[in-house]
Symmetry: D2
């Protein structure tokens, strides 16, 4: 299996377009804060599909899937009804059984929300950790390496559980 | 206006019960990861109401409201359909215009998810930062101080935007 | 197995309390129209549990579950953030493999929405129709018979698919 | 203002594509029943936009908006994770202040759900009924007239509230 380099964004940044509907908003007049997680799920599912590694394939061929293990969200600007948004997805880190993404949601005025997402590869049966299958890891690593050098990064954060208060 | 100390949980931990319905789950058979944010919103709204500082009051009397500015979630264990969950809400920090909470969702087997939430007080008109009104700040501070000494804490995390990669 | 008559509402109307949170509303300032379906699901799940026939039991003991087959909703009045709502659930009809409910959502000013729901009993394996297990059917029939005579009813509606236009 | 006939689907049926993500499904392994209402909202918003009558325009230029007044849904077949769906939107009836649509959600195997939707035109201020602005009514009527003669139709159903039981 060879990697089709053409399918990987040249700058390592996958872009996905979203329109804001009533279902996404709340009585504050802006997009409900949990909606950005739904947007990010859609965008990273399509990013994987565009890489040639659809999630359904991972499940069928290798019996593994990605699950969200840790999330961070910075809310910068409230998106509004009917606005056109883009979600940019970048691979920050690829390990044996986990990966880290940064996903940035923007409207025409700038950044609305930035998500740091740690995904774990788990076996569908038994829910135990599993290795990211090689064809996936290669593509994700290539996408990772194409990110512009010196660009802003994202650092794993201390767990909200373990830090003494 | 005097603080009714009786209304503040003796150990500084507010508890809220939730049942898992189909609406909360996904095809993975467990609670969808964004659902925990909805659970946390319900729990902290009721925590504020039980403190005697309902959110609607803040809006009407002082023209300010709380908005989520930063979120962190650690996912530990998938909650399932029909399970009875509790959400524990603790005040970690109270500032002039922001506060930090930790919210822990548990099922009978242990911790499902831990959320660190930074809320900003903003003016309803104009969406500019506003000070947390004194009666609110006093109660929140009292609730903060009742948390068991030496218990686990939560530290503000570096922004996912600013850290160089 | 005998029916505990005490567990069935004397007037055949089960009542369930709900509070409106931001998650439930939209930018129109009222509860999003699809949210009433989530409210109704919670209320009828609790109505079944209170009857002594929790849904999880049906699945485990009989291998069947209820699925929504047809829905009608009349929207009367927009519920708002922070309002206390009640959902009243009535059994209108119990057949061998289906039942019909009416669920009425009210705020302090009156009716917000009325839902007519036809549920089918289906086998968990294979998704084929199954008979409603006897203990369930008896309780549901008793609840049906307690509804006040002459009260407003609900009639199956012509399918939106079959009627010539 | 003239109607651009080219923007109206030749057969009066607007088609909108949707992919199923985890956010849309439930623990039953299929699309959650309330999700179809969200899909339908997206599809009819885009149908209006494609007609050249974006909803935001109605609000800004005429101070009116569409609200859902009555809904019917027939559930035929459960859509699954990752499936590609289409939503077909047809105008069945256009009145002075209301219109009726039928929206059909299909996967590759056939119909998943059919929705009958009655929308009312209401004033943004005061929430009172308002007339559908002429440019909108003309386009909607043209779209209505293009539906294939003899095709399946949809009949207003008796209200779930008024019918004696």
């Amino acid at each position: 299996m060879t990697i089709n380099l053409a399918s990987i964004p040249p700058d390592g940044r996958h872009r996905y377009a979203i329109r804001v509907y009533y279902e996404d908003t709340d009585a504050g007049g802006v997009v409900y804060h949990a909606t950005y997680l739904r947007y990010a799920e859609r965008a990273r599912t399509e990013a994987l599909r565009d890489l040639g590694v659809p999630h359904a394939d991972m499940v069928e061929r290798f019996g593994v899937m990605f699950m969200v293990r840790q999330l961070e969200v910075d809310y910068e600007r409230g998106a509004r009804l009917d606005e056109a948004l883009t979600v940019e997805t970048e691979v920050l880190e690829v390990g044996g059984a986990t990966m880290r993404l940064r996903q940035t949601v923007r409207n025409k005025d700038g950044v609305c929300a930035v998500l740091g997402v740690r995904l774990a590869c788990v076996r569908v049966e038994g829910n135990k950790p599993g290795r990211i299958p090689a064809p996936w890891r290669e593509r994700l690593t290539e996408m990772r390496s194409r990110r512009v050098e010196g660009g802003p990064g994202w650092r794993p954060t201390p767990s909200v559980v373990d830090v003494p208060g």
